[in-house]
Amino acid sequence: MALFDQMNVYNEPVRIGSIRILGVSSSSSLLIGDTQSMTLYSYFDTPPESVIVGPLAPLPALPEEGE
């Protein structure tokens, strides 16, 4: 049995002087206020196989001789 059946949230006034942020990036959020729900994702797929150092790229075909 739950301790209570409902929760009441009273939002009081918000007063902010100054905010200084360099960057908000990659599914990030700066929220001054209220929200019911928030869902954020972020993927970054570079290492290890995405950085290839070596002669693995297909080279362009050599020009035909006599052209």
Partner: protein, 133 residues
């Protein structure tokens, strides 16, 4: 519907890009952000290959995680006569499915998937000047 009066004296935002949002005030429908990025940097271009379709990469086929329902009893929010007063907001950049909101809103949904392929061949200078870091 939750509602609050939002007052901002000064907002200074330099750049908003790649599905970024700056919202001041209430929003009933929330925000749904989406940014899918594929960046390729090669020493030699391979124009013959079709490698720029996002479905070729497993990162974009990965299922999104599903958040469990919030625990506990349901909540009721009361925001009457609760203003939001802000002096100044200074944000240099909002990018890649990010958002800055001053006020009430939601549900907020975002998604960012980035594949960054860099193919550097030693000894070959790229035909276009690039910064291989």
């Amino acid at each position: 519907m939750r509602s609050r009066v939002s007052a901002v004296r000064c907002v200074d935002v330099n750049t908003i890009s790649n599905a970024g949002i700056l919202a001041i005030g209430d929003n009933r429908d929330g925000a749904k952000l989406n940014s899918r990025v594929l960046a390729v940097q090669r020493s030699l271009a391979t124009f013959g290959n079709d490698e720029f379709r996002l479905e070729f990469y497993s990162l974009f086929a990965r299922p999104l995680p599903i958040a469990p329902p919030p625990p506990g009893p349901p909540a009721l929010f009361f925001s009457a006569c609760a203003p939001i007063e802000i002096g100044s907001v200074d944000v240099t950049g909002i990018s890649a499915a990010s958002h800055v909101r001053i006020g009430c809103g939601g549900p907020e949904t975002a998604e960012t998937r980035i594949v960054n392929i860099r193919n550097r061949i030693p000894g070959i200078r790229p035909q276009v000047e690039v910064d291989n870091k």
